[in-house]
C-alpha cells in the first residue's frame, strides 16, 4: 500500500521514501483513532521496505509534531470501565501501542522523525522510535507524565535511556520540564537542527543521502547498533498499569480534561 489516507494520518511514497504525515486536531493526540492507522502502517512496512530505503514521520499540525496520548480518551476510558476490567483493558491498549512502536523501532528502513513545536509524551516516544530526529529550532521535547501521576507508557523511557545518558533521562522524567532543541541536541537526542518550517526539507535531504547506500548494509548496521530494550519495555507496561489505578491519576486526568487550555499542565 503505497498511499494511505486515514482520519489521523496519511502516507505517500516520495523519492523512494515513505512520508507519513500525522494530521489530527488538536495536535495529533494518539488514541483509538490513530492506533489502528499506525497498525496499518506497520503491517505495510515489510512490503514497502523491499522497494524503499527510508521512512519520514512528520506532522501537518501547526501546533507541533504530537502532544502525546489522547488524555481525554484515556480519562473517559477510566471512567467507563469497571475497576475489574480497567487493568486488562489498559494492558490491551498498551500492548498494541508497544507492538507498533517496536515495529517502527526495528523497521528495515532508515527512519527519521521530522519534528516541530510540541514533541510531548507519546509524541516524543514516537519520535524516539526513529533512527534520527531532525528538529525545527522551535521544537520542544517533554515527558509531562509525572505531572499526571504517571510515567510515559509508550516505551519512551527505555528508548530514551538507550539513546542518551541516565542523567538526561532523570532530568526529563523527574522534573517533567520541556527542553528546547539546543538542549536536546547537546544531549544527543536531536541529530540535526533545521530553521523554522524547514525540518521536512532537511529530512528529505537526509533521506536522499541515505538512498545512496546499499540497503542490506544499512539494515545490518541498524540492527547492530540499535538494540530494542524488550525487557525494560515489558516492565514499563507493568509499572504504568500499577500507577494508572491510583486515585491521583484520575484527579490529574480530570484536571486536564476540564481545562479549556491547550496544554493545561504548562504555564
Amino acid at each position: 500500500m503505497k498511499n494511505f489516507r486515514g482520519k489521523a494520518l496519511s502516507w505517500d511514497v516520495v523519492d523512494g521514501a515513505i512520508e507519513v504525515t500525522l494530521d489530527r486536531a488538536p495536535c495529533n493526540e494518539i488514541g483509538l483513532t490513530t492506533l489502528p492507522e499506525l497498525e496499518k502502517l506497520v503491517a505495510a512496512l515489510d512490503t514497502l521496505a523491499k522497494e524503499l530505503h527510508a521512512l519520514i514521520i512528520t506532522s501537518a499540525r501547526k501546533e507541533g509534531f504530537c502532544a502525546g496520548a489522547d488524555l481525554r480518551e484515556l480519562y473517559e476510558f477510566k471512567q467507563k470501565l469497571p475497576p475489574g476490567e480497567l487493568r486488562s483493558g489498559l494492558r490491551d491498549f498498551l500492548e498494541r501501542i508497544h507492538t507498533v512502536m517496536n515495529a517502527l523501532d526495528a523497521a528495515p528502513l532508515t527512519t527519521i522523525a521530522a519534528v516541530h513545536g510540541v514533541v510531548f509524551g507519546g509524541g516524543f516516544e514516537l519520535a524516539l522510535t526513529c533512527d534520527l530526529i531532525i528538529a525545527d529550532k522551535m521544537a520542544r521535547f517533554c515527558f509531562p507524565e509525572l505531572r499526571l501521576g504517571l510515567i510515559p507508557g509508550f516505551g519512551g523511557i527505555p528508548r530514551l535511556r538507550r539513546d542518551v545518558g541516565n542523567g538526561v533521562v532523570r532530568d526529563l522524567l523527574l522534573t517533567g520540564r520541556s527542553i528546547n532543541t539546543t538542549k536536546a541536541q547537546s544531549a544527543g537526542l536531536v541529530s540535526q537542527l533545521a530553521g523554522e518550517g524547514d525540518a521536512m526539507r532537511v529530512a528529505r535531504a537526509t533521506a536522499a543521502q541515505i538512498r545512496k547506500f546499499d540497503r542490506a548494509t544499512a539494515i545490518a548496521a541498524k540492527r547492530f547498533i540499535k538494540p530494542i530494550p524488550y525487557d525494560e519495555l515489558r516492565r514499563e507496561i507493568e509499572i504504568f498499569c500499577d500507577l494508572f489505578e491510583r486515585p491521583a491519576v484520575e484527579a490529574g486526568l480530570q484536571k486536564f480534561v476540564e481545562s479549556a487550555d491547550a496544554l493545561p499542565y504548562l504555564p
Binding site: 501546533e63 510540541v118 520541556s178 496544554l263 493545561p264 504548562l266 504555564p267
Partner: protein, 80 residues
C-alpha cells in the same frame, strides 16, 4: 551585563514583534496571556524564543503562575 530594565525591554520588544502587537501597548506589569491573547501552547513558543534570545535555559515550571512581563523578566534575569 544587562540590567533588569534592559531585560524587560527586550522581552517586551520580542513579544511585540512576534505576536504582532504594537510595542507601545505593552507595559511591564501587563498580563502577557491577556495582552498578547495567547494560550499555554503559545506561551511555550514565547519561552523558546526567549531562551534563544537570551541564550539561557528556563524550565517551564519556573513560569507556572507567572503571567506578567516584569516577573518573567526577573526569572530570566536570574539565569543570565
Amino acid at each position: 551585563m544587562r540590567s533588569l530594565q534592559d531585560t524587560t525591554e527586550e522581552i517586551l520588544e520580542l513579544a511585540a514583534v512576534h505576536f504582532k502587537v504594537p510595542r507601545a501597548r505593552l507595559q511591564p506589569g501587563d498580563d502577557f496571556f491577556k495582552k498578547l491573547g495567547i494560550n499555554s501552547l503559545q506561551a511555550l513558543d514565547l519561552l523558546t524564543r526567549l531562551e534563544q534570545h537570551f541564550q539561557i535555559e528556563l524550565p517551564d515550571y519556573e513560569l507556572q503562575g507567572v503571567s506578567d512581563f516584569r516577573t518573567l523578566a526577573e526569572r530570566i534575569q536570574s539565569r543570565l
